[in-house]
Symmetry: C2
Subunit: 401 residues, 2 copies
């Protein structure tokens, strides 16, 4: 039991203890832990507990992430002890700041960003829309978690405006490509997995070592310009259709908080190659997507075909090394029901079936639209939360004319 | 005229003045400039000249790259003055170290790594080999420099062994994929362009601003596992077939050294969209590929269809920002003649026509093979050089079994 009383409507309870980077007016950014509607100043708390605080007094989580699973565990235990009735409020209370008074920053310096494509329903929907004459799933899809590298330099924190990208597009019936602001701007609801412990070049990381390397989870919105993407992506994959912005939540939920959310994977048939087998699990996390204040989708990550441990094993099986701060996305999470798709591409079937909302019909995103994603999962005492990732679309500057 | 006398066979003359990171036994890595077979200790030289040396006494070029074009110009002028007969040897001579006595490191911390596909001959050859039933060039190819993001965490410096990657492959006639060490390991001869000055998210960088942002050039070997690549790359592009290693030369040649190598672009037809037009040029750099001591190809970058300025404008036209340390490759450089292809895929036509070398027939790379790429270009007084990028293939550890 905890002496801490969670304010009604607060973004977090006492179970999550997610990590982020905060600053007070005029102060240096450093590590904070969210609880209720408060932020714990972790460096100060660690010093008060006679613990080294060097990797907490940093403008990113990276040094703490690099410290590895034992330090992650010790830190969480310290926080849980300080929140317990046995300890009482005196040690922690003075180091809490109301969340309304802090500024939140990108929580970690992103090393490489990889995006997977692990939802069978999403891959099937996209295949049907983009390649109507072919098989919906490519022949490799059920043999490996398909992925590609995205742009790590344009990963931004929740609250950052997203400038509508300009670019080339060409419809099949057009003679030549045209240039202009994207007319099919979309979101993608995903989970992002954050690597703490690096690995050695040339040495694959097996499925079983997932918890030794991956620290936690963010909510990730992989903004996508479908018109740019459709014209550019053959043969080398998505590039400018994705690279303009990827938004992540300010709070990284440690995997240690998600023990009650672990679920078995769906049946994987045909049988996978041995390097993808082994004990591995999914997470029963639901990502809720809100457009201009209306919930338009609830995306069930429990249904993802591949586990994050399988994604990690695949990513490194060729000997590619991990660095602290590597981020990999699950790919858009779509379930089988109509209200479970993680993109407007699917929810409106490429714009052909507008969503009817109180503010009118919606196909793709308009300037001024606000997309907010929130996520939650089963915890020990009710549902736990992953915070939110929000972004508003703004018009881009005219260029290339 | 310079008092410096270049040793016969030395890797550089007095025109190049390329930058790298070196260390002496037991010393900290810091910026060096190569001349002849010597390395100039730049921080010490700057201090002796009463110049600030903070960004030279660093383990990567990044702080110097971030300082921008004026500082790049001032530094090159200082070096040219110190090498001139007017100055004489006394100021520089004490700060030279024989290249044989220094250790060279990865010259810059790679932010994002993008690889383009700008050689028409290469794209045509690959299209014919990988998609024999379709058009060799995809419909978008002559409208934009096609590119994708690679893995920046596995960019390694010349001399680093390359571990043969394991992975999945499936030939069309196979029922199911199999797992094992790549049987079609290849190199790709490319130029890599190194970004110094960052840009702002949401603001494209026009073709004309190329020299404000790009500092210099490296030779780049984009190692590729063709069997892994062929099975994985549809629909999201190359991933594990490329991400295990990308080698770069230890020395970054500043664009300022390449004024005599600027050449007009080939005819671009159909006409490009306006954002890709404007004053822009290629570089008449030839990359020579040596396999186990035999020159097997001379790849002419002068024939690339797109200029590096067009690649930069395309990369940012959607508002994607640049960071100091961004690296983008030209894509494999292949000319129209048989001995001008930048990959074994093309030189052996997917392994069907082995190269006959003194040590036997070669299709793809065997364990123990050594690939060395060297490059040169016209300078003011004869040809200038870009150093070399070398890598030896070593067997990978067995995994996934």
């Amino acid at each position: 039991m905890s002496w801490f009383s969670v304010a009604p409507g607060a973004p977090f309870g006492t179970e999550e203890l997610p990590y982020g980077i905060f600053s007070l007016a005029g102060g240096d950014p450093r590590i904070g832990v969210a609880i209720g509607d408060q932020v714990i100043d972790l460096a100060v708390v660690a010093e008060a507990a006679d613990r080294s605080s060097g990797h907490f007094r940093q403008p990113s989580l990276n040094a703490f992430l690099a410290a590895g699973p034992e330090e992650w565990g010790r830190t969480r235990e310290l926080l849980q002890w300080l929140l317990s009735d046995e300890s009482g409020p005196d040690a922690l209370q003075p180091h809490l700041h109301p969340m309304a008074e802090v500024r939140l920053h990108l929580p970690f310096q992103v090393a490489d960003y990889v995006d997977f494509y692990a939802s069978e329903q999403h891959a099937t929907n996209v295949g049907r829309i983009f390649r109507p004459d072919g098989a919906a799933l490519t022949p490799n899809w059920k043999h490996m978690p398909i992925g590609y590298h995205g742009r790590s330099g344009t990963v931004v924190v929740t609250g950052t405006d997203v400038v509508r990208p300009h670019g080339q597009r060409k419809a099949p019936e057009d003679d030549a490509p045209t240039f202009g602001p994207s007319t099919k701007l979309d979101f993608e609801a995903e989970l992002g997995f954050v690597v703490g412990t690096p690995s050695t070049l040339g040495e694959p990381v097996p499925v079983e070592d997932f918890h030794d390397h991956v620290f936690g989870v963010v909510i990730l919105n992989d903004w996508s310009a479908r018109d740019l993407q459709a014209w550019e992506y053959v043969p080398l994959g998505p590039f400018l259709g994705k690279s303009f912005a990827t938004s992540v939540s300010a709070w990284v939920l440690p995997l240690a908080a998600l023990g009650y959310a672990e679920v078995e994977l769906p049946d994987q048939d045909p049988e996978l190659l041995p390097y993808l087998e082994g004990r591995s699990h999914g997470y029963d996390i639901t990502v809720e997507v809100e457009l201009n204040g209306q919930v338009i989708s609830r995306c069930p990550a429990a249904g993802l075909y591949y586990s994050p441990a399988q994604m990690l094993a695949h990513l490194t099986v060729n000997g590619a090394s991990l660095r602290t701060g590597d981020l990999y996305g699950s790919g858009t999470i779509s379930g089988p029901a109509p209200g479970q798709c993680g993109s407007l591409l699917e929810l409106t079937w490429n714009g052909g079936r507008p969503l009817q909302l109180p503010d009118g019909g919606h196909t793709f995103l308009s300037d001024g639209d606000l997309v907010v994603m929130r996520a939650s999962a089963p915890g020990q005492h009710g549902r736990i939360r992953l915070g939110e990732v929000a972004g508003r679309i703004v018009a881009g500057t005219v260029s290339g004319s």
